[in-house]
């Protein structure tokens, strides 16, 4: 009943919000899925890539570095950190059972968080001042649109476009797609395992860096434990889409954002805080009905070699 009373332009406003939120979720989910599709590893430390990139933003911002320089450096920080992570922590356990991989990434995530905490960052989160233009808005009819949201959606589209081109047109991209289908066969074709895995982590890290710019930018602050929520969103979105499927991850990101915004709006005010619980219940049921996700990826209940 309440939904029917909802007017057209309010709905349009929520669609704009969902698109912006969905873009960030899609980037996060894609980053999680890129590594999972090749290694069968759920990388709990993906959230720490976001935090690290966010801290780079903070550091460069407080030193007065101009934004056109900060943006690429933020993204590169994510990529570089992901490669270091792979080299130090994940290579020694490569080929171990899925549970070992999962727990290794969890341990790594906790270590990085606490290193942030000890290495002078402290328990307090710190403010990041993003440029003023991003907070300015414009109107389309009665819908208010923030320039930051426009930048988020457009950058995501651009990143997805570049990634798609890379995966479809380049040999390395082809190798990555082949590895996500069948890693053993790909190696038999003469593709080095290390190169594929490094590439998967690099892509995952760059996506985390880009997502960090918009996620941390929208929050306007960063703290040592800010990685958990983005990890969770990316993880859930990737699962909804089907963890092995990259297209599914993007779709999952938008579905998750749409669900969250829908329940935030549709629930009666006194029950609004429960929206997150309801979204999780839906996720669980999606998994039960379609364990392989909305777009069939790899069956995620089955252990990978």
């Amino acid at each position: 009943m309440e939904l029917l009373a909802y007017t057209g332009h309010e709905a349009a406003q929520q669609v704009v919000n969902a698109l912006s939120l969905g873009s960030v979720y899609a980037l996060l989910a894609l980053g999680v899925a890129a590594v999972f599709s090749v290694l069968g590893l759920i990388n709990f430390a993906h959230g720490e890539l976001v935090t690290l990139s966010g801290m780079m933003m903070l550091l460069l911002g407080t030193h007065g570095v101009p934004w056109p320089v900060i943006v690429p450096l933020t993204i590169l920080t994510g990529g570089a950190a992901a490669i270091v992570m792979e080299r130090i922590a994940f290579r020694p356990v490569r080929g171990a059972p899925a549970v070992t991989l999962l727990l290794t990434s969890l341990g790594l995530s906790i270590i990085i968080q606490n290193v942030f905490l000890i290495a002078g960052f402290g328990a307090q989160s710190k403010d990041i001042h993003i440029p003023d233009w991003s907070n300015s808005t414009f109107h389309v009819g009665s819908v208010i649109v923030q320039w930051f949201d426009v930048a988020t959606v457009l950058s995501t589209m651009a990143a997805l476009g570049i990634l798609t081109l890379f995966l479809r047109r380049s040999v390395r991209g082809l190798a990555l797609r082949a590895a996500s289908e069948d890693f053993t066969a790909t190696r038999m074709m003469g593709i080095r395992a290390n190169s594929v895995i490094m590439l998967a982590f690099l892509i995952s890290g760059l996506l985390a860096g880009l997502a960090a710019f918009f996620y941390i930018g929208a929050l306007g602050q960063v703290g040592y434990n800010y990685g958990f929520t983005p990890l969770l969103k990316g993880f859930v979105a990737a699962v909804i889409g089907g963890l092995g499927s990259l297209t599914g991850a993007v779709l999952g990101g938008f579905i998750l954002a749409a669900l969250e915004i829908f329940f935030q709006v549709a629930l009666p005010t006194e029950n609004t805080p429960f929206y997150e619980a309801i979204v999780f219940v839906i996720v669980i049921f999606v998994l039960l009905v379609r364990p392989q996700g909305v777009l069939a990826g790899r069956g995620i209940g089955i252990e990978r070699v």
Binding site: I42, P92, L288
Partner: protein, 377 residues
């Protein structure tokens, strides 16, 4: 009666005893007795000789141990990692808090709660039992949903479950006092209650492990397809382990509530999950492994906490804990004891010692030489 006859008689008795240990119940009871004796000796020894702070550490160790044993029953037998057991601790902790707190205190905190909650004032044991029953009742339908999942799906679903429970605890204002701290829980947790429950949990966990259900669950963990082919009902075995482990986690939650005496929903978050997982994984897949893991990590944690307090560096203890965990994952992913129980290791050790001695006597040369053991077998 000749000496030879007497010897034959005692050999027969020994054989009968050996025959008895073939029975899983006997093996489980003997094994858990050994672990319990060591546990009681350790706890009583440390508690009676320790200062007040050390006694607090022992209490913390005991409720952690219960949670770890609960997690062991599910995770170590099924090979499926659960992030959701802390949710069961939370449900049980709040249930016992609501049932046992003085009605006058409740009237100021949750004046709009249903009457039977506001007026309830149960003693420690009945309150514990009700909390365990409530938690187990919640675990059954949840388990039906979860029993089919493993790997990444299980990770996300159990994590979702934890967050669902946390959201409900934080927002069900009329009953849980919402995000505010619920205070005034009677401080009933003593070392004797904790120790009693811990010993009971050691027995229950070991009996489950050796039972048909436990064996079939371990088979599904080793190879789900083969287990299915020999007729194991994976869903049933996992559900049984899930509910049992939830009930054990519930006891941990109750002990925690009556130890800390004030609860907030944030107490049952992801932060608590990690140390418990570390304890289970570091110890190994067996029940003794869980006890060894919980004890050694508790010891390390306390040592680090003292260093942390004296140097003022927040986060050092968690970092070291995670580093130990990571090193373990890389070097010895099966944990300290691997899949062995203490008594199994002991039996294996004595058997090897015995074999070596026999070989030595038969061959008349150093047993260390290659092929020495093969001669006798």
């Amino acid at each position: 009666m000749s000496v030879a006859q007497g010897e034959a008689g005692s050999a027969q008795a020994l054989n009968r005893l050996a025959g008895l240990t073939e029975l899983w119940v006997v093996r489980a009871l003997l094994g858990s007795s050994l672990v319990s004796v060591l546990l009681v000796a350790l706890v009583v020894g440390v508690y009676e000789t320790g200062a007040a702070t050390t006694q607090t550490v022992v209490l913390i160790f005991l409720y952690n141990l219960l949670a770890v044993l609960g997690l062991q029953v599910f995770t170590s037998n099924s090979g499926v990692v659960s992030f959701g057991h802390v949710a069961f601790m939370g449900i049980a902790a709040y249930t016992t808090a609501l049932l046992s707190t003085d009605p006058a205190t409740k009237a100021t905190q949750i004046p709009n709660a249903p009457g039977f909650i506001r007026h309830a004032q149960l003693a420690f044991l009945p309150s514990t039992l009700v909390a365990v029953a409530v938690t187990a009742a919640v675990a059954v339908p949840v388990g039906f949903v979860f029993a089919r999942l493993s790997g990444a799906a299980a990770a996300i679903v159990t994590l979702s479950w934890l967050l669902i429970v946390q959201t409900v605890l934080a927002n069900w204002d009329t009953v849980t006092h919402g995000t505010f701290t619920f205070y005034g829980i009677p401080p009933s947790t003593t070392v004797w209650w904790g120790l009693g429950w811990a010993v009971a949990a050691v027995f229950v966990a070991r009996l489950f492990r050796e039972s048909g259900l436990g064996l079939s669950l371990r088979a599904t963990s080793a190879d789900p397809l083969v287990a299915r082919a020999v007729g194991v009902n994976l869903g049933r075995a996992r559900l049984a382990a899930w509910v049992l482990s939830a009930a054990m986690a519930a006891v941990a939650g109750v002990l925690y509530a009556h130890f800390i005496t004030a609860l907030a929903p944030t107490n049952f978050g992801f932060d608590l999950v990690f140390p418990l997982l570390v304890m289970v994984i570091v110890g190994g897949l067996s029940v003794s492994g869980a006890v060894v893991g919980a004890a050694s990590i508790a010891f390390i944690q306390e040592a680090l906490r003292r260093i942390e307090n004296s140097t003022g560096h927040q986060g050092v203890s968690t970092t070291v804990l995670a580093a130990i965990f990571l090193g373990m994952m890389i070097l010895r992913p099966k944990g300290l004891l691997g899949r062995w129980e203490l008594d199994e290791l002991l039996a294996r050790g004595t058997r090897m010692l015995h074999e070596r001695r026999t070989t030595h006597a038969l061959a008349g040369r150093e047993p260390a030489q290659k092929g020495g053991r093969a001669d006798t077998t």
